[in-house]
């Protein structure tokens, strides 16, 4: 990828400019910034806090389930804990996660732009996120709600205790933040690509961010309407979902899953993009099947809108609807399988290195495949009738969301950390954390597949004694996982102060973001880059032993 000089008269030479981190050092210069890189940092700090709050709730859940009668005396407290865990992790960590942090930071760099299309809307989106998050946290800490993150009616509208209305208000507000981010990404990718950056020369990560953004914009309004109706019925007793006052409880499930199924693709698509980005760099090889990987993201985003009914195979929806939704659910799994095969094709005949981002990415492939395959069980109608609402489902979506998405988040974080912070982290400790996460994760969640098959329902504060051994195993794994998650927090913060200074391109990777200094200065590029080449054309390493 080469650059030719384009006119940018007033710009000072790159080496004389302060990096974005020091271009203004007051608190005000951070809180009122419109720089996409600073907003990414603000988001990163925010979602890290949410991650550890949601994680603490998870730790308490696993603590409770060590003994059959429950370590936490009150079932009601337990119900509030898993509601808190679900709400925070889904809406305040997983849904924003990669797009608002890594995406916000690298998207303009990758397309050779100074910023996103609407920098002020970008800042607004962070404030909406913080406002929504604050309202939700307030609701959770002054009493919480016991509905689960799914808010099933009529329980949520007329029976549940607690601050349901306040909690859904928080989620409602944060939804606008998602929409603003999605809109910003879509417009930026359409309008701000540097000369020569054609769609098929774009980094594959941008294809996945684009697909994600489309879902943000199209699905989030449906969630907003659904939550509004829940609040409406709860406050004014207007019959929408509760049959006692003339509503229909299945309607709620249709509306909720019409958002929430595409939302799982909001959560995983950026992860798929990150892994597609990391693997070619550390295999020193062109991405296998670029166009298939790119279009498979779009296919997932589109088909993902037509599979919501697979959450309702035992809900009383019509038999024929269930059959159609089952078939479509199998279809939506095909593009994911295509991606996995293409990653393997990329590894084939590569020159593979095992730096920390690559270890996270390889771990992702394993866990994502496990999660995907167990999804086939739940898409099979008769198997779902058995496994639905058991721990099998919990294990399945944690394999995708935590094993997959969180691994991808760490892969992205380690991959772009030198660019974002200007510092290198301690490599061996990072590799150890990646391995520990993989082991801890499997120990936590694999036993839950068996628990689910044996019939343990989800959201149980207490359980029959025969399930105890597997629950104890799972809780033991969770403690390892917790330690593994704390490690990056420590060594990444440490690296900010004591880490080695990062070169502009520590991985010897292709891509415009690596042609800027680490960390970049505020305007990103001194001259607008012109792209003449695809992203992934890695030459064979010119080492003699390579041909030995």
């Amino acid at each position: 990828m080469s650059q030719t000089a384009t006119v940018n008269e007033r710009a000072a030479p790159a080496h004389e400019r302060p990096s974005y981190l020091f271009d203004g050092v007051t608190l005000k210069s951070w809180l009122l910034t419109t720089d996409h890189k600073r907003i990414a940092v603000l988001y990163m700090i925010s979602i890290t806090i949410f991650f550890f709050i949601g994680g603490s709730a998870a730790a308490l859940i696993r603590y409770n389930l060590i003994v059959p009668e429950g370590m936490i005396p009150s079932a009601e407290t337990y119900n509030r804990l898993f509601t808190m865990h679900g709400v925070i992790m889904v809406w305040f960590f997983l849904v924003p996660s990669i797009p608002v942090t890594i995406g916000n930071f690298v998207l303009p760099l990758m397309i050779g732009a100074r910023d996103l299309a609407f920098p002020k809307i970008n800042l607004l989106s962070w404030y909406l996120f913080i406002l929504g998050g604050a309202v939700a946290l307030y609701a959770l800490f002054v009493g919480g709600a016991d509905t689960g993150w799914t808010f099933y009616a009529p329980y949520s509208t007329n029976y549940a205790q607690g601050n349901v209305v306040l909690l859904v208000t928080g989620i409602f507000i944060s939804g606008f933040s998602s929409i603003a981010t999605g809109l910003n990404f879509i417009v930026s990718i359409h309008r701000l690509r540097a000369p020569g950056m054609t769609w098929y020369r774009m980094p594959i990560f941008l294809w996945s961010l684009y697909s994600t953004s489309v879902i943000y914009v199209l699905a989030t309004p449906v969630l907003a309407i659904t939550l509004l109706l829940v609040a409406f019925e709860r406050v004014f007793h207007v019959g929408v979902f509760d049959p006692r006052i003339g509503g229909d409880p299945i309607l709620f499930q249709h509306m909720f899953w019409f958002y929430s199924h595409p939302a799982v693709y909001i959560m995983i698509l950026p992860g798929l993009g990150v892994v597609s980005e990391v693997i070619p760099v550390f295999a020193r090889k062109e991405l296998f099947g670029y166009k298939f990987i790119a279009w498979s993201s779009v296919a997932i985003a589109v088909i993902g809108f037509f599979v919501w009914g697979h959450h309702m195979f035992v809900s009383g929806q019509s038999l024929y609807a269930s059959i159609v939704f089952s078939l479509l659910s199998y279809f939506v799994a095909v593009p994911s399988a295509i991606k996995v095969f293409n990653w393997l094709g990329t590894l084939h005949k590569g020159y593979i290195r095992f730096d920390a981002p690559m270890l996270y990415a390889l771990g992702f492939i394993g866990l994502f495949v496990m999660g995907g395959l167990t999804g086939l069980f739940l898409a099979a109608l008769a198997a779902d009738v058995d496994l639905h609402d058991t721990y099998f489902v919990i294990a399945h979506f944690h394999y995708i969301m935590v094993g997959g998405m969180v691994s991808a988040y760490f892969a992205a974080l380690h991959f772009w950390w030198p660019k974002m912070s200007g510092r290198m982290y301690p490599e061996m400790i990072a590799r150890a954390a990646a391995l520990l996460m993989f082991v801890g994760f499997n120990l936590t969640f694999f036993p839950q597949f068996i628990l689910g098959y044996l019939g343990m329902p989800r959201r149980y504060h207490s359980y029959p004694p025969e399930f105890q051994v597997l629950n104890v195993l799972s809780s033991a794994g969770a403690s390892i996982l917790a330690a593994a998650y704390l490690m990056p927090l420590v060594y990444l913060v440490w690296s900010l102060l004591y880490g080695e200074r990062a070169p502009a391109n520590p991985w010897n990777a292709k891509g415009l973001e690596w042609e800027t200094p680490s960390p970049p200065f505020t305007a990103n590029f001194a001259i607008t880059p012109v792209v003449t080449d695809g992203r992934y054309n890695y030459p064979k390493p010119e080492t003699s032993e390579a041909h030995g």
């Binding site: 079932a75 295509i338 009738v385 329902p457």
Partner: protein, 308 residues
């Protein structure tokens, strides 16, 4: 599998399907992990192995694995659907049991008038059909030993049938979050031999069958004023109604099953029988679920009588 009893015909079929899914998954995992390990070891950066020519054209590979995946997925879809459809086709000779769920208990009403809470006694090798509804929120009737569950909804009947084929006592769980007592809303299904079941019924004998109790309610709620006997002047006769097609005023036809009868009592204006005026008052909020199912049982019993 794994020591979980297969206590119904459906359980064996579901286990076979799950076993098939495990086999497909194991093969896919072996393929992916095998290739991944093989490649990362063989093609690690300092490995001297000759890479040779790298595939330039990828289209053939893409088509091959896309088609392969689609075919396997389609097979799994069909397999799952075939078993699932059977769950919606109960045989005609089922033994009907009514379930009313509420926070946080299962109330069970047998046709003979026997009542129990959190326990369901059924005879072995006989198809059982549950007619279920909830008094408050959504619950879910889940018996792992049968590999079956179905949501129990307020405001409507859901049915679920199974044929237990192993004597024993099995877990019954509520598997839809229903509040603080959700995890305590558990009970058991007791599958008994025919003689044991008969003596259980006798020992728990009630003051009359559900249909007989329903007949008293039919008079008490004033239903008999219009629907009584063979008269068809003000309202259609209910004799011979159950299970037969009913022509509606909008030209469509419905089969008079439990759900239709329940809906007609609570929302009579929704489905008007052809050639009748919509004059029946709604009994919503007047008749509770317990009484409703007795009325339904009574009207079902009228179905056996001959039409005039």
């Amino acid at each position: 599998m794994l020591g979980l009893p297969e206590a119904s015909a459906n359980a064996a079929q579901a286990d076979l399907l799950i076993g098939g899914l495990v086999a497909v998954s194991a093969a896919a995992l072996a393929l992916v992990f095998g290739l991944m390990l093989y490649y990362v070891i063989r093609y690690r950066h300092d490995s001297p192995v000759d890479r040779g020519k790298i595939a330039e054209r990828t289209f053939g590979f893409e088509m091959a694995w896309t088609t392969g995946t689609l075919l396997i997925f389609f097979g799994l879809f069909i397999w799952g659907a075939v078993i699932y459809v059977q769950l919606y086709r109960p045989p005609s000779d089922t033994l009907k049991v009514y379930i009313v769920a509420k926070q946080w208990m299962w109330k069970v009403e047998h046709a003979g008038g026997q009542r129990e809470i959190d326990t369901l006694h059924v005879p072995v090798n006989k198809p059982i059909e549950l007619v279920m509804t909830s008094q408050d929120v959504i619950h879910d009737f889940f018996v792992p030993a049968f590999r079956l569950k179905r949501d129990v909804l307020p405001g409507q009947y859901e049915t679920l049938w199974f044929r237990p084929d192993e004597i024993g006592t099995y877990h019954l769980f509520c598997s839809q979050l229903c509040g603080a007592g959700h995890a305590a809303m558990i009970g058991s299904v007791v599958v008994m031999s025919d003689p044991a079941y008969a003596s259980w019924l006798a020992q728990n004998g009630a003051s009359g069958t559900l249909a007989q109790q329903g007949q008293e309610l039919f008079i008490r709620y004033g239903c008999s004023g219009c629907h009584g006997g063979h008269g068809t002047v003000r309202a259609p006769s209910l004799i011979g109604l159950y299970g037969s097609p009913v022509p509606l005023s909008d030209g469509s036809t419905v089969v008079a099953d439990d759900r239709y009868i329940r809906d007609s009592i609570l929302q009579p204006e929704q489905q008007i029988v052809a050639s009748y005026a919509p004059m029946m008052p709604s009994f919503k909020g007047v008749i509770g679920e317990d009484d409703l199912l007795r009325l339904v049982a009574y009207i079902e019993s009228l179905g056996a009588e001959k039409q005039p």
